[in-house]
């Protein structure tokens, strides 16, 4: 079929219609020492030490930032062992035995409205840094770095779009934690002295838009917070597409939103900013969808960070059917497949998707051009693939593969079932050489 893909079809997602289930806290949680962005870390506690909930138990050293590590349960550090991280690497995890008391660390204390009012932008960013806020839509980019931009911010976009199929975490989160999201948004507006903030929600969720509007009228009237209905296509949640739909600004490839006076944060991140500033509390649990066509009882769960994937699968009723399964942290379009069930859900994990392996066979490319029609960056994946096959670096560079953000639409729309995105990824490596 020669056609542009806009919607990822065939997925009826109704998870957000049902309440999120508080997931049982496992006996042992696992906290990553290192992660994909931070190759080095220091640990402040030793085996046998007692730790409190939200206690700082270490610090990760990134390339240009340090990030404190917080415990997500209270209990005893058992040992440090290797597990798979969502980035696909085998890294050290702290295994903490849960004493089921959830003793809060004394560092977590509420701030009074006067104290919050008195905070300057730099103080707020420091608090956000100490609470290890990162992009919780999946990127994991440190929020305090993002907020340190020198550009004048005119618009704040709160991203609640979730355009990937099977994901419904943020939709439910917006219904449940509306006040926290608005609180975080108001803090961001104060920080940047910005009068325009928009919560971006897909237009296919009128109930969420109505709920948010109602809450704005109730708690933040005249504050400048509005709800922007977004179109229902993939990749609407990509910042370039979101900025274009919400504000009509066309971003050039390679530019970031602050260059256009736009600050965009995920809804969950906005809520953690609120928690950090008002309660000095880092994130220790989050909403996660456990969904996909290979799971028995798909649901949204409120999961303690550090829960292994296998526990999530058991919570959702186990595997459905005998087909080969693919486990994914993140969405089925962009998320990487997990090497085994032993992977640990870290705070940037939005969902666990269990898919049956695609049975579409790989056939020769017939240059139907669906990938070219579908590419949101206007690239020509089929030509990139041909250049990669002949390892022609001159040609690869002419095709600008570095503009690719790996949305996966080329593989999705390929009539012949070829994994075109893999070739583009290889082209990106070759173009950088």
């Amino acid at each position: 079929m020669i056609a542009k893909t806009t919607k990822i079809g065939g997925v009826d997602n109704l998870l957000s219609k049902r309440p999120a289930i508080p997931a049982p806290i496992p006996d042992y949680v696992y906290i990553a020492v290192e992660n994909g962005r931070c190759p080095k870390a220091d640990i402040f506690v030793k085996e046998g030490d007692h730790v409190n909930l939200c206690q700082v138990i270490g610090v990760r050293h990134g390339p240009f930032f340090d990030q404190p590590i917080h415990s997500t349960v209270s209990g005893t550090l058992v040992k440090i062992e290797k597990h798979y991280h969502r980035c696909g690497k085998l890294v050290n995890f702290m295994k903490i035995e849960n004493d089921r008391l959830d003793t809060l660390d004394p560092a977590v204390k509420d701030r009074t409205p006067e104290e919050v009012d008195a905070l300057t932008k730099d103080e707020m960013i420091k608090i956000i840094e100490n609470c290890a806020c990162v992009g919780l839509g999946g990127s994991g980019f440190p929020t305090h770095i993002k907020l340190q931009t020198k550009e004048k911010i005119n618009h704040i976009l709160i991203n609640g779009i979730e355009c990937e199929p099977y994901l419904d975490t943020d939709q439910r989160f917006m219904l449940d934690k509306t006040k926290e999201i608005f609180g975080g948004t108001a803090l961001l507006m104060k920080m940047f002295d910005c009068k325009d903030a928009r919560i971006c929600v897909k237009e296919t969720h009128p109930e969420i838009i109505a709920h948010l509007n109602e809450m704005i009228d109730k708690y933040y009237p005249g504050y400048g917070i509005t709800v922007s209905p977004m179109k229902n296509f993939y990749p609407q949640g990509w910042e370039v597409a979101m900025v274009k739909t919400a504000l009509g600004i066309k971003m050039q490839p390679g530019k970031i939103p602050p260059a256009y006076g736009v600050m965009n944060v995920n809804v969950t991140t906005a809520a953690t900013i609120y928690e950090a500033i008002w309660h000095n509390k880092p994130i220790y649990e989050r909403y996660m969808s456990v969904n996909g066509d290979g799971i028995n009882a798909p649901s949204n769960f409120i999961v303690r960070i550090g829960t292994p994937a296998i526990d999530l699968i058991h919570m959702a009723g186990g595997y459905k059917g005998d087909e080969n399964k693919v486990l994914i942290f993140g969405g089925p379009m962009m998320g990487a497949a997990l090497p085994n069930e032993d992977c640990i859900a870290t705070k940037t994990v939005t969902s666990l998707i269990v898919m049956n392996e695609s049975t579409k066979p790989e056939a020769p490319c017939i240059r139907c051009g669906s990938c070219v029609l579908s590419c949101p960056q206007g690239l020509q994946p089929v030509l990139i693939m041909e250049a990669v096959k002949s390892t022609n670096r001159e040609m690869i560079k002419m095709l600008n593969p570095l503009n690719c953000m790996e949305c996966g639409l080329c593989t999705y729309s390929c009539t012949s079932g070829i994994r075109v995105t893999d070739f583009v990824r290889r082209a990106k490596l070759l173009a950088k050489l």
Partner: protein
């Protein structure tokens, strides 16, 4: 059950190459059936021969290159059947079967077409030329005189009096009513005259999105616009009504058949909207040029010429999925060339 480690994305669109190829065969069915009803004896000889030849060549190719009969997949079968059917529908109805040479011609043309047009480049998906068009051209050039029809020397595709008279060779072409041309009550190649069946196939192909409408529209659009201009020029010189002339040109020969089933073949065309529009327009200009300047049918040649420039249109340095300045410049240059070398000589004649 096993866990699979694979790269993102993990979900694929619900379509397949097999269905795309099947759709082409379904779209060819009305033409094939009509051809079989109209010329049962020729169809019964040509279809099985050409299908068998193409399948055999493809199978031998797979056996030689892959050394594994299991590599002969359903896609290979379907694509070679498509080639065989299109090639068969382009052949004249009378190839001299009485003397036996006709059988040889069908097999030789099919074999040369699929081997030189497709297999030497690496088989399905790698070919530069449309194998059916190549086979048809080979038959036309090598065995052009074999047809029993009167105008055989004019070439096989236009072996009939009417289609041979496409252009200016015969001035009184209007003797054939347009309605007869439309429903195929004229002699011609096995399948190219049945325009109702071709239009049914076209609608099916467009609905199922098996072909890209941009190629089709730009090819037919260029052809019709240029023929209208030529018609105006001829009318000014005392010829027929220009609209009648253009319609006559559109309905005679293999324009519609080539536009629906051959020029739209994605493998031999470029990718990206601007390149596809330019590709179709180029083929349209070449068809008009051959018809008006050489006075003979030009659809088959124009498809092969356009196939040759497809890689150029997709050369990475200037290929783009969005309309760029050079696309408009090329389109303008193409229009200028068309008017200069095709319409101007006509006006000066």
């Amino acid at each position: 059950m096993q866990l699979v480690k694979e790269t993102a994305p993990h979900i694929k669109r619900k379509d397949s190459l097999m269905w795309m190829l099947l759709n082409v065969i379904i779209a060819l069915a009305p033409v094939c059936i009509w051809a079989w009803v109209a010329y049962p004896l020729s169809a019964l000889r040509i279809f099985p021969l050409s299908v068998a030849t193409c399948l055999l060549c493809e199978f031998l190719f797979i056996l030689i290159t892959k050394k594994d009969p299991k590599a002969f997949k359903i896609e290979n079968i379907l694509s070679s059947i498509i080639t065989a059917l299109i090639y068969a529908l382009c052949l004249p109805t009378d190839l001299g079967f009485a003397s036996g040479t006709g059988y040889f011609v069908v097999v030789a043309g099919a074999a040369i077409g699929i081997i030189l047009g497709k297999l030497v480049f690496g088989g399905l998906g790698n070919n530069i030329f449309n194998p059916a068009a190549l086979g048809m051209i080979v038959v036309r050039l090598f065995w052009g005189g074999i047809s029993g029809n009167a105008a055989g020397t004019a070439g096989i595709i236009d072996s009939s009096i009417t289609t041979g008279a496409t252009a200016l060779a015969v001035e009184n072409f209007t003797t054939v009513p347009l309605l007869d041309l439309f429903i195929g009550r004229v002699p011609g190649a096995l399948g190219e005259t049945f325009h109702i069946a071709i239009l049914i196939g076209m609608v099916y192909l467009l609905i199922t999105k098996t072909i890209d409408w941009k190629v089709l529209v730009s090819y037919l659009g260029t052809f019709v616009v240029l023929m209208l201009i030529a018609g105006v020029v001829l009318q000014a010189k005392g010829g027929e009504l220009f609209a009648h002339y253009a319609l006559y040109q559109l309905l005679s020969g293999g324009v519609l058949f080539g536009a629906v089933y051959m020029i739209t073949d994605p493998v031999t065309g470029p990718v990206g909207d601007p390149a596809r529009v330019l590709f179709g327009a180029f083929a349209g200009v070449v068809t008009v040029a051959i018809r008006l300047l050489a006075g003979t049918e030009g659809v088959g040649f124009s498809i092969l010429f356009a196939n040759m420039i497809a890689p150029v249109l997709n050369y990475p340095q200037w290929s783009s999925s969005k309309w760029k300045k050079w696309h408009f410049i090329s389109a303008g240059a193409l229009a200028g060339v068309a008017l200069l070398i095709v319409i101007l000589p006509l006006a000066l004649r």
